[in-house]
């Protein structure tokens, strides 16, 4: 089943052409990794999928992204709704520092009008458990979100994203600011999450891509060079440039 289908996607920052004619099809409840050297457009690409790219001044997008068959860039679609259904976890953990751990997770729910304490309590507990953070924070839910360690903050951000029940989760290099133990926990988590969610993860760490993903796509200079099953990409790349990159000859 395909969840997201990208057709002829171009993205620009003022006059820099950041993404050039990307076509890709993302399968439901699988993990798709995006790899490539820095500046190749990986982050820009996933930021187009939840319409976050256009928030930056002078940024433009053209082409189509079909989400469950509907173009998210058509004028009938509201980006607010898209961003709720396609969640995102960022490179650096960014919990809201003035909100407590509980309120960080509940933030998105409250925006959507959920007020009853019982409902909120239930979902906050459930999502914190899903993010494998519950046991560590259950006794200090009222502490500030930034009182946690970096890895815990990132899992808190994952819980915050999960709470609004997205269908797709975008991870933008979620482990690049974390130590190896925290990284392992997040990877474990991604592995569990794919049972219920479609996941796209940007990473510059090829081992990570190989460990967590089902499909891998290789970006270079704003173009999609190769896309296929992770196993195929890493064992038998078709393109010379992909081979050069995964064998560590550049990047």
């Amino acid at each position: 089943m395909e969840k997201v289908k990208v057709e002829g996607l171009n993205a620009y920052f003022s006059n820099i052409h950041a993404l050039k004619g990307i076509n890709i099809s993302i399968k439901e409840k699988k993990v798709t990794a995006i790899i490539g050297p820095s500046g190749c457009g990986k982050s820009t690409f996933i930021r187009c999928i939840n319409r976050l790219h256009e928030v930056v001044p002078h940024a433009k997008v053209s082409g189509r992204i079909l989400f469950d068959g509907k173009d998210i860039y058509s004028s009938a679609i509201d980006p607010i709704e898209i961003r709720r259904r396609i969640g995102m976890v960022f490179q650096r953990p960014n919990p809201f520092p003035v909100l407590s751990i509980y309120d960080n997770v509940a933030a998105g729910l409250k925006l959507n009008g959920m007020k009853r304490k019982d409902d909120l309590d239930e979902i906050v507990e459930k999502t914190l458990k899903m993010a494998a953070l519950w046991d560590e924070v259950k006794n200090k839910l009222n502490a500030s979100g930034v009182s946690l360690s970096g890895g815990q903050q990132q899992r808190l951000c994952i819980a915050r994203t999960l709470a609004v029940k997205p269908e797709v989760i975008l991870f933008d290099e979620p482990c690049s600011a974390l130590d190896p133990i925290s990284t392992a926990k997040i990877e474990e988590l991604i592995f569990q999450l794919k049972e219920n969610y479609t996941i796209i993860i940007v990473t510059h760490n090829m081992q990570q891509a190989a460990r967590v993903s089902d499909y891998t796509s290789f970006f270079l200079l704003g173009e999609l060079v190769e896309f296929g099953k992770t196993q195929d990409i890493f064992t038998a790349p078709k393109d010379k440039r992909t081979e050069a990159y995964i064998t560590g000859r550049f990047g």
């Binding site: 607010i80 709704e81 925006l111 959507n112 009008g113």
Partner: protein, 283 residues
């Protein structure tokens, strides 16, 4: 109504509310401009700048003495406040990275926050009481206390913007730190310091409260700095609370002149600061 629609409406409402806030704030500005322009500019003529005030009912008359008085006060103030302000600023920027520097910075901040009317009392106690007369000198002292913190902090900030490479180049030539500061760093920072001074002058030019019981005001041409002296803001105040239309017109005219001077200084100094920052950053 579903929650989603409600959120959209709140969003539209709040975003337009911020726009309205910005617009209604411009209303008083526009209104003041209209008053000052329509009532002030039309009352301007040569005699406004050259003549003394006349008693009520007599036509003509001007604010020559007040204009001269304001210029004299500004001159006198600059005479002591600029050296003190600039030198202290230089000291803070070059040698002020210690406890003493922190104390000086703190007292400048403190001085900056003192209400100008309180500064007036201070100048009264220090000058008017022992000299037994209101005077231009005491007025200039009060204005100087308002000017110094501004000049000092802008000087310091501008000097800190001077790139380290310039300092190091000078030091490498074997110049002592003191001479280097004076000759090279100060020269590079001069435009910025001058604009800081202009801004400070723009601020004191309109000050009234500290002059009320120092410079006091004077109906006639000034007779030396040990005597009471007229000033435009004082004259505006006196005329504004009088019941006479003639005097109101004079006060509008004076407001027009004062605002024009202040805005021009503000505008020039901002422009220069902007250009200076840009060129320093480019380097």
């Amino acid at each position: 109504m579903n929650i989603y629609k409600r959120r959209k409406i709140i969003n539209a409402f709040m975003c337009s509310a911020t726009f309205i806030c910005a617009t209604i704030t411009l209303l008083p500005l526009i209104s003041i401009f209209i008053y000052v322009l329509s009532k002030g500019a039309s009352s301007l003529n040569i005699s406004f700048f050259t003549h003394l005030p006349r008693p009520v009912g007599e036509p003509g008359g001007g604010m020559g003495n007040a204009i001269l008085g304001t210029l004299t006060l500004i001159g006198l103030t600059c005479l002591w406040a600029i050296p003190v302000g600039v030198l202290s600023g230089v000291y803070l920027a070059e040698f002020g990275n210690n406890k003493f520097g922190a104390v000086v910075r703190f007292s400048a901040d403190l001085l900056n926050g003192v209400p100008s009317i309180v500064i007036g009392i201070f100048a009264y106690i220090l000058f008017v009481v022992p000299m037994k007369t209101f005077s231009a000198l005491s007025g200039a002292f009060a204005l100087g206390l308002i000017m110094i913190p501004t000049v000092m902090r802008t000087t310091e900030e501008i000097l800190l913007l001077v790139p380290r490479t310039i300092r190091e180049a000078a030091l490498a030539l074997g110049i002592s730190q003191f001479r280097m500061t004076i000759s090279i760093v100060l020269k590079t920072a001069l435009p910025g310091i001058v604009t800081g001074i202009l801004l400070a002058i723009a601020r004191i030019a309109g000050e009234t409260a500290p002059l009320l019981f120092t410079a006091l005001g004077n109906e006639f041409w000034q007779r030396g700095i040990m005597q009471p002296i007229a000033a435009m803001p004082l004259q505006i105040f006196a005329y504004a609370i009088s019941p006479f239309d003639d005097w109101h017109r004079q006060a509008w005219a004076a407001s027009f002149v004062l605002i024009t001077i202040i805005f021009l200084m503000n505008f020039i100094s901002r422009l220069v600061i902007y250009l200076q920052r840009k060129s320093l950053k480019a380097k």
